[in-house]
């Protein structure tokens, strides 16, 4: 019995030692494997891992090699763009300041805008107008985009919900819904809207593009087009086309919630409230209660003196007895 017991004891000790050996070796192997795997993974995080946004709007990080490109149907793409266009950018209230004292009628804003939105030369989302308040006062130039009113009369009259106000303040037009009734043109006190009477400029080249409501391209015959505050650029953190193109520092653009606007030319950021306070900022036709999101700074430092050739131009806007 005793021998047997001893034997079994011996056997178990051997087994025990064997087991320890196996476990030890195993754990070393496993440890190195884990370590190698971890290192491999860490290397991957640096270079090969990418962030993706799922259809449910969840941000995930995955290996770049695990991705396959899924071709989206045009209709799906359109739905996505349209939904995004209606939602806007969260937490923002876009605002523009136009400093008339700096405008020298370079008209770079107009050409940048027309290029971006594929407009004909006579179609203006933004227009630089020659202004003269009264006979004998020097004229000045005034850039006039859509005022993106907080109380927009154009949106109120639209019978098909084609034009709408976004949570971030931009008034957009969806030309997939527009029926071309032009009520909004009649309702807008700032004459900010244009109509595509003729076939749009690039209609041949643009015919395969998916319609982006934030860019209003491709333009469509028989629908409205208007200034969009370059909603597509704002999404990328860039300033509108007109603002970036100005060579004279006329435009400031920013977020009212941040109380800051940035000059498109000098890229200098200033307090929005202070800029208006210090320079007597105003809005166009405040008596209408439209609450525009575009502010103006008065046209001081006018460079062009009053000339006789300005007379007929000015007289259009003056009482006929004075002309």
């Amino acid at each position: 019995m005793c021998e047997k017991e001893d034997n079994s004891k011996n056997k178990s000790r051997r087994e025990f030692l064997q087991n320890i050996g196996i476990i030890g070796l195993g754990s070393v192997l496993a440890g190195s494997a884990i370590f190698a795997g971890f290192n491999y993974d860490r290397k991957k995080t640096n270079a090969q891992r990418i962030k993706v946004l799922t259809a449910e709007n969840e941000l995930l990080e995955i290996d770049k090699n695990d991705t396959t490109k899924v071709a989206r149907f045009k209709a799906e793409n359109l739905t996505f763009l349209q939904k995004r266009g209606r939602e806007g950018i969260k937490g923002k209230r876009w605002v523009m300041v136009v400093d008339l004292s700096k405008c020298r009628n370079a008209r770079k804003c107009m050409s940048a805008c027309q290029n971006a939105h594929h407009l004909r030369p006579e179609q203006h989302h933004i227009n630089v107008l020659k202004m003269q308040e009264s006979k004998g006062t020097p004229p000045f130039y005034m850039a006039k985009p859509c005022q993106h009113c907080d109380n927009p009369p154009c949106v109120a009259v639209c019978p098909v919900d084609a034009t709408f106000k976004r949570p971030d303040g931009i008034v957009l037009i969806d030309n997939e819904r527009c029926i071309g009734c032009r009520f909004c043109i009649a309702a807008c006190p700032y004459s900010a809207r244009v109509f595509n009477w003729a076939e749009p400029l690039n209609s041949e080249e643009d015919k395969d593009l998916t319609y982006d409501v934030e860019l209003n391209v491709p333009q469509r015959k028989g629908t409205i087009s208007k200034c969009l505050f370059s909603a597509d650029r704002l999404r990328e953190g860039k300033m509108p086309y007109c603002v970036s193109a100005c060579p004279n520092g006329v435009y400031y653009f920013g977020d009212e919630n941040e109380d800051a606007v940035t000059n498109g030319t000098t890229k200098e950021t200033v307090r929005f409230s202070k800029l208006l306070e210090d320079n007597a900022g105003y809005r166009l036709m405040p008596e209408l209660g439209t609450e525009p999101r575009v502010y103006y700074l008065p046209a001081k430092n006018r460079t062009s003196p009053y000339e006789d050739k300005d007379k007929p131009e000015a007289s259009e806007h003056l009482d006929s007895s004075h002309a």
Binding site: P247, A260, T269
Partner: protein, 299 residues
Amino acid sequence: MLKSNIKLTILFLLAIFSFSKINAQAWDVPADKKAKNSYIKFDENTAKEGEAIYTKNCVSCHGNPGKANNLKTLNPIPPDLGAAKTQALTDGELFYILNTGRGAMPSFKNTLSEEERWKTISYIRSFNKQYVQVVSKTDPTKSKLVKIKLDVDSLTNKIKVAVIANEIKGVVLLKDAEINMFVSRYFGKLQIGKTLRTDSVGCVLFDFPKNLPGDSIGNLEIVINVNDEIYGEIESINKVKIGVPTNKPSLTEKRAIWNVLKLAPWWIIITYTSILLGVGFILLLIIKNLFKIRKLGED
């Protein structure tokens, strides 16, 4: 009469012209800015890179240096930068002019980095055979040693910035270094206060505005930019809870005539529904009476 008028006009124009010329000369550059030098050694490569920047930003008004094709219709006339008058300026003066701008000339402080601005000057200098560069004492490799510490006093809304460098021989306090404080905004950096210089213990105190909107809990991203003669340019980004908590509702939340059906004003909903109900009620009444008439006829 007419002749004297013309004479007067010419005299007047001459006066304006000479005045503008004087005006164009008078760049009032502070002495310390005047003495500033580039930390980049100017050579063919920097001049070439500078040429690309120059072509994009400067050539439309100043023309090509030495070609005298500058835009002479402007007032004051933007000088040909290859001319002797420009080349007589120090590098610091050119740098200052690029930074501040004046009149029709914009400031390039926010649009070009310091490196790009020096490279542009390098290009301008390549048109001057006699030019000998004085390189500044700045050692850009040392900028990694610098640590920037923020100390926020939320009661008085003051932020103390301390700048030190962890050298091998021990901690060095950065004295007389230029400090700029910015707050990150969507399209750029908003400068807080003026550019200040650190005191004898490497500290500087900024008054922070009490009404600057932050995120929903008042957090702000504060950018500290340090510019030291030896350590170069260093930037640090810090999240500080010093702004006014801002959580403004979206602009489409209120009931309005222009809003979606769900958010139509109450008076429209009430008027519209009551008209519909009224018409429906009258229609029902008519049908009921028609039945009544038919019944009477049958009797």
